[in-house]
Amino acid sequence: MNLYFDNASTSFPKPQEVGEFINTYLNQGGTYGRAAYPRVFEASKMVEETRFMLSKYIGTSLVDNVIFTFNSTSALNTLIQGFSYKYKKILISPLEHNAVGRPLEFMKVSQGVNYQTLPHDDDGLINLDKLKSLKLNDIDLIIVNHVSNVNGLIQPLKDIKRIIGEIPFIVDASQSLGKVPVLADEWGIDMLAFTGHKGLNGPTGIGGFFIRNPKLVEPMIYGGTGSNSEKLVLPKFCPDRFEAGTQNIMGIYGLLGALKNQPKIKYTIDAYYLLLQRIKELSDIKMLISNSLENQSDVFSIQPNNVEVSLFTKLLYDIHKIEVRGGLQCSPLTHITLDTFPKGAIRFSLSNFHTDSDLNHLLSCIIDIHERLQSK
């Protein structure tokens, strides 16, 4: 029985090849560029193969413009803080993580950058009709979390980009890449941040971003790239422009092991929808999901009435060994939108390794804890 339901924090288990690839690297060594001996060439080739495979997941033909970072947060900070603002006005989705909220708040205080929330429905879905009627002529940047890490809502990126036109569009794909289709070129996404250790099932410490027009953003890290070394300025071309310093090559190897061995989904969509329906029927529990199942990913949360989130979470583990995350999930803005702030919620997030039997077991555990607490 797979009792781990915290895959939105980090996926577990990983495909076994993740460890095997990391082990290969540890035994083989080598860095990216900087020399020409075979050990370096082999490591460089693996890095570029990973970049190429990621470009397929992102849906772009601009392979050079896929950049490695340590995680989504470092990617989003680079994109948000390095962007050249003219009007200092940003619009964001109502379901943003602190990886977006905190850099924006920092820039609000330090640089007077103003950010506001896009029009939305009560589940956080961006309201396209209202968006169409907004005046956007002085908006520098629009940022949207593709999949919420709290209620799992999937935003309609293609429709949003069609409405906002030429305004640069950053997508936070931390929860979506590897789980929900992304077509950056077809949808016109300008920038996209991702991490390797969630939906892509790789190790922690490796993530990145895609940037269509690198001139829009100044790099955050300056240093050696193994290219143009005679000059004290960073090269302007990608990926070197944004990859100063030795990258996490061990993490890249692990990610490549994951990308080449992505697990096929084992549970059925019917079993998942049944799980959601049964929890919804429980009394005194607020369900945090999208209003339409069409927009629902494999992440959802619950907020029990009159019971502490931490107590419910603790009992789930103490009695049933179910591992989940209770609290604000680093997303106060989302919880404000969903009217679950500051209490937060208990989040459940699936992996492709879960089976129908795992989902049925989870339901019985939630019902059991709910009944125990109700009877107190």
Partner: protein, 77 residues
């Protein structure tokens, strides 16, 4: 293309490792004779890698690289 003597060897220098790896794959697929070598210091102070190709393959290699818009410079050695 007559500048490229079939009995000479040439090195192709790129702006990034990304382009070296991409080009190596292409040259390998074509079955050309090549090797990965350090960039000669009389050409660049760079510490990275470049690709050495023989004179029989260099003209076709150049066309292939241009077809996929990979910026490069060719030097006889």
């Amino acid at each position: 293309m007559s500048d490229y003597s079939p009995n000479s060897r040439f090195i192709i220098v790129f702006i990034s490792i990304h382009d070296v790896i991409k080009s190596e794959r292409l040259i390998k697929e074509k079955g050309f004779d090549y090797q990965i070598v350090p960039v000669p210091s009389n050409i660049s102070s760079e510490c990275g890698m470049c690709i050495e190709v023989d004179g029989k393959s260099i003209a076709e290699t150049k066309i292939e690289l241009e077809n996929i818009n990979i910026f490069h410079n060719i030097y006889p050695i």
